[in-house]
Homo-oligomer: 116 residues x 4
Amino acid sequence: MDARLESLSAEIQKFCSERDWEQFHNPKNLAIAMSVEASELLEVFQWLTPEQSQNLNAEQKYQARDELGDVMICLLNFAHRLGIDPVEAATQKLEKVKAKYPVEKSKGLAKKYSDL
Amino acid sequence: MDARLESLSAEIQKFCSERDWEQFHNPKNLAIAMSVEASELLEVFQWLTPEQSQNLNAEQKYQARDELGDVMICLLNFAHRLGIDPVEAATQKLEKVKAKYPVEKSKGLAKKYSDL
Amino acid sequence: MDARLESLSAEIQKFCSERDWEQFHNPKNLAIAMSVEASELLEVFQWLTPEQSQNLNAEQKYQARDELGDVMICLLNFAHRLGIDPVEAATQKLEKVKAKYPVEKSKGLAKKYSDL
Amino acid sequence: MDARLESLSAEIQKFCSERDWEQFHNPKNLAIAMSVEASELLEVFQWLTPEQSQNLNAEQKYQARDELGDVMICLLNFAHRLGIDPVEAATQKLEKVKAKYPVEKSKGLAKKYSDL
């Protein structure tokens, strides 16, 4: 991983270790945490129109940034626990997705990202 | 952002742009996508015991890595769209969390990460 | 509970019991299942505009109905396991919500349902 | 639907109508709301062991019941908006699931409910 990402991940491990929280952080619980945090991020946008979501006010922007930080923390914690490099995992996944959705067949069509 | 993260983020933008998918990628829809992907990651662990989640077999490990890749892709896409540096957002959030959960008061207590 | 709801709940219990699945169905796992199913329902709407979501085609309508069935099954299974009457729980919650959002203060304002 | 369920659903419609909230309640937004509420229910169980989740204390039990009420409210609102009878949808889904997981092949095996 890159220096800043690696340093952040180490900080998260230190944070958990100092609080003796690793006992709660099995991969299943961390997957729950990531899902709960992603849902809190979604909550920020829940009643906004698509247009409003593109023009967040300062408070909404702050909340989105704050919740995104939580998702990122959970993601790095989870990845560390399973020995996964998240940048590498995403890079390889993107290659799969490119193959699955060739430009000529996918252009302008809303595809289910979740099917990726 | 770091070089690899920045390069991955640029790759994702190129991927979406080539398919003319930005039209679907307003922040609200990307927040939905991140939540849906985090849920698919959780699904891998759904019926596992905490112990089993710490001893994944090869197929489960592969699935977890694959789904984590999706969450990371969505996260970077979302962050790009809102002009957020995810490493910076997580670093600042971690500082807030440290202040909220001082070591002496939090040690060994399961805290709701989601309250962070 | 009402007759049809009670009968459905009993059917679900029989279904699980015949397959010896109660061992996996502790409340935590059923809460995960409900969240995963709700996310699959959301996936149906993921890339639709608000307008499109109000004019589903036959396949989308079928998928939404099918996934809603899953959420309902999980909800009834969870409620049974914890000895909760879901209709009563929702009725009481609605009373709380009415008190929290008085008509005169809430009219026409998008409120965070999740704060209810 | 049964009398109590029907009455509850009507109460929910009245609640929304009085507050002029139908404008926010397109099916997509209600699917988001249901997912967010299901996630809040899951949050109650997030750091509990499977055993602890079977022995909730009074406060946890209250929270679970409260959040389940929210999920049920969202589910009924969503179902009403799309003209779906949730009991019927769940009953038909259960028939599909029975066919997909025959007793002799499924007994004692953790199946992915989400694949149902």
